[in-house]
Symmetry: C2
Subunit: 340 residues, 2 copies
């Protein structure tokens, strides 16, 4: 039995092997992903992001347990968890997180957990995460929770990947919290104030609400054009109709607020599907993905045609300020057999 068949038949070891191939971006890995592709597109991809200290991991575990619970009034769903740790590009710090999770969810064949550290290459993490999500999707995992630490590009990448993006907050996490939120809020489909038993929860909610309203005013107000110009280039994040990100309180460590949150997550999936945005998000995501691969292939092909010595020599010329970068790039491009 080939690796594709093994993954499709639900063999965990096969899935784990495939994921390793995807992480290492191997040719066999790509081939298997290609074979599996017709079986993907069913899973609900949920991004979970927010600052350190908000209790994201605990929240993700609780959501996983909820989706696995036979008593939640819905069908039990198979749950994949991808814990992306972009702050550990080097030493694989994600491993520790894995062990902690295992205590709660281990032994349940309906749960598959994988931690990933940042790839070195630009866009490498987003690409690898997409691949891993596809593999889990093909293997029959119906809900895939993608957790990431950090603020910035990684969140935008997640928003690109996920159908539903949760932004997790917690009370009292620093004084420039409001400055931060202005941007982060815009990728949120659902806002979660976790650790809602901590003091300051009212302030956090008030700050989030006023930021949300500011964002709303911005959308419909005088800054409309500027806003939409910026949006144009990242149209996947556009939310043109109807959905206002709700604010949900939770205390994940005590399991409180999880049912309400899961309900809203499910509602968001229904909303996306009935407004055709589900498909629109897939379309945009795939477009970005194809672009990244094509850039990569073009560069590889070019690189194979330009000897390392030529490249290094050109680089040296620039470093010594003998030649300018753009001039050098044009000269380097001419050195390949690609036609320009």
């Amino acid at each position: 039995m080939g690796l594709s068949e093994a993954v499709l038949s639900g063999e965990r070891l096969a899935l784990a092997r495939l994921i390793t191939q995807i992480e290492n971006d191997t040719d066999p890995g790509r081939k298997v992903l290609d074979e599996l592709f017709p079986y993907t597109g069913k899973a609900h991809l949920i991004g979970v992001t927010g600052s350190p200290g908000t209790g994201k991991s605990t929240l993700v575990n609780q959501l996983a347990k909820y989706f696995r619970s036979p008593s939640n009034g819905q069908d039990r769903r198979k749950v994949g968890i991808i814990a992306v740790d972009p702050s550990s590009p080097f030493t694989g710090g994600a491993i520790l997180g894995d062990r902690v999770r295992m205590r709660d969810l281990t032994g349940d064949a309906g749960v598959f957990i994988r931690s990933m550290a940042t790839r070195g290459a630009l866009g490498g993490l987003a690409r690898a995460t997409t691949g891993v999500a596809q593999a889990m999707d093909a293997a029959g995992f119906e809900v895939i929770l993608i957790e990431t630490v950090g603020a910035g590009q990684s969140e935008v990448d997640i928003a690109r990947l996920a159908h539903t993006t949760l932004v997790v907050e917690a009370p009292g996490l620093g004084d420039d919290i409001q400055a931060i939120k202005a941007g982060i809020l815009e990728i949120a489909d659902i806002l979660v104030i976790n650790k809602a038993d901590l003091p300051g929860v009212e302030n956090t909610e008030r700050a989030l609400r006023s930021n949300l309203e500011m964002g709303h005013a911005l959308k419909s107000g005088e800054d409309h054009d500027r806003f939409h110009n910026v949006r144009a280039s990242i149209s996947i994040l556009a939310d043109d109709s109807g959905w206002t990100p709700p604010i949900v309180r939770s205390i994940a460590a005590k399991g409180e607020g999880i049912t309400e949150l899961a309900d809203i997550i499910n509602k968001h999936a229904v909303y996306l599907k009935t407004t055709n945005q589900w498909q629109q998000r897939e379309h945009n995501r795939l477009k970005t993905e194809l672009k990244l691969y094509i850039m990569d292939r073009l560069y590889q092909t070019w690189r194979e045609q330009v000897p390392e010595s030529i490249f290094e020599q050109a680089l040296e010329g620039v470093l010594q300020r003998k030649r300018s970068p753009f001039e050098t790039i044009e000269q380097l491009l001419q050195k390949s057999m690609l036609k320009f």
Copy 2:
């Protein structure tokens, strides 16, 4: 007088105009950067990063004031500040930060401040920031402080760009702080515990020290190979000799610890220059930069040769699971006149 000459002669308005061109990635902007390139390479690029709430902006302002001070026993240096706000990809939240800074540093012709929000494109921010730093460098700014919020790819990008990377901590910023640090620490040349008058400062320092030692053990211990394999792909961050990141305490809001920090920053510059690592970092940075531009040019050239309708049609085929992504990519690549 052309824009290049105006920038070289120190005209602030010209510099501001050029930076706007760089941010919008225009052809004239690239041309001017190319003309200015021979005049770059003198500035000390200092990256300042860390979680929200650590007081990075205040610290950056204090450092700027210190470098501008005639009483610090050193020559006054011209200071550029680039405030990168990767968490505000949409609404340009960086603007607020600008206004706050202005109060302290405005009116000093030896200081130039620019805020930047995240670009939509992958690597776009790193590229734009590199360009802006080069423009300031050519305009005679001798110290360029590049401040970023967030954890993840943006830090790695900064470490790629800067000669010296400061990672800023503060006591009591959340319970998964230690898990986070494992990765962030490795891009730090200098660790700053700001807000050192807050309770918990001893714990923070202890945690940082033990993480540093862990990292050190990892470098020399049994995980040596794994570590170096990962490092290989991001060799710019390697610190093969001699420099152990010192931990400096500061209370930026009161101006305490700034002199000590500035001394260590200057020592790091001397260290880099005497060990040839200054040049090595420039080499690696430039290599990455050239690669990004080449990828971009290759993609643009390819894109011009493939009609939008063909691209969208291919995309649709994939979305409907009629064709697999990799197969589609290969077919799309053949459709261009580039030779493979």
